[in-house]
């Protein structure tokens, strides 16, 4: 029963990491330079989950862990802004400005899902704690 607490906790950590990535994506909605100052639009980060065998119960229930944080390779969105200081000077996208391909709708739905998943796991932790308390009532 105590392991059930570990499994729910691993999910809490995973969902929090996911929510961090989502907030990063929304915060960088129109970021045009990368962390080195190069002119590359921000690429969305996606957190990949993996079943974690190291947190497991005899019944076969396993925890979850963050396998990796992947960077999207999606094409940037080009907007026609000829007078923009960062407008592309030549080629196919002349007079266009590159913006990150972050979809606000997707990100917000993901954020909602991560929040609800976090809440659900907190709920399971409450149930586990109540079960332990009930066991104590038999003993006492």
């Amino acid at each position: 029963m105590i392991t059930a607490l570990d499994i729910s906790t691993s999910a809490l950590v995973a969902q929090r990491t996911r929510l961090n990535a989502i907030s990063s994506n929304i915060a960088n909605l129109s970021t045009q330079r990368d962390e080195n100052g190069e002119l590359t639009p921000y690429q969305a980060r996606h957190v990949i989950f993996q079943a974690d065998e190291s947190v497991q119960m005899p019944g076969g229930a396993v925890g979850v862990k963050v396998a990796s944080v992947e960077t999207s390779t999606h094409e940037p969105i080009y907007r026609h802004q000829p007078n923009h200081p960062l407008a592309i000077k030549e080629g196919k996208w002349k007079d266009y400005v590159a913006y990150p391909a972050v979809n606000l709708n997707t990100e917000f739905v993901d954020a909602l899902e991560a929040t609800r998943a976090y809440e659900a796991n907190v709920g399971v932790i409450e149930v586990t704690k109540n079960m332990a308390l009930q066991t104590l009532r038999i003993v006492g």
Partner: protein, 148 residues
């Protein structure tokens, strides 16, 4: 005679468990207090190490030649000393693998959820020890008052 009365029950072992969970709570509370401290690494008192040491000591104290279980008294004191002295790489104050997280840029491994979960588990263990101990005292009380 009175020590003999208590030694024949599980009260000394439960007392050690309550002391241990109390000490461990302090260590875990320290982790939460330092959640934003740069360079801070989580500390813990190992429950497994405590329980195997307790088991060994109980076995030796049950032998008729051993008499008083003097080893029991110092168990938690030894463990907390090793944790407080900063030597938390010792066997009794290991941090479990599942609690060791990725390191952040400030060289700390903050993980609030794990700490809160451990505090909850520790509290359950403490409640168990105290509940069992009070039921033992109730039994003794009934025996003394000669009531059924």
């Amino acid at each position: 005679m009175l020590p003999g009365l208590f030694q024949s029950t599980t009260i000394p072992a439960l007392d050690q468990l309550a002391q241990f969970t109390h000490a461990r709570h302090a260590v875990l509370a320290g982790n939460v207090a330092n959640i934003d401290t740069p360079g801070y690494r989580s500390r813990d008192l190992s429950v497994d190490a405590f329980q195997s040491r307790l088991k060994d000591l109980l076995e030796t104290s049950r032998e008729p030649s051993a008499g008083e279980s003097e080893g029991l008294d110092s168990l938690t004191a030894q463990m907390t000393k090793s944790a407080a002295g900063g030597g938390y790489d010792e066997a009794l104050s290991q941090v479990r693998d599942s609690m060791q997280q990725i390191l952040y840029h400030d060289d700390s491994d903050k993980n609030m959820e794990h700490q809160v979960a451990e505090i909850n588990k520790n509290q359950m263990l403490h409640n168990l020890a105290v509940t069992l101990m009070s039921s033992q005292f109730r039994l003794l009380q009934q025996a003394i008052s000669e009531r059924v």
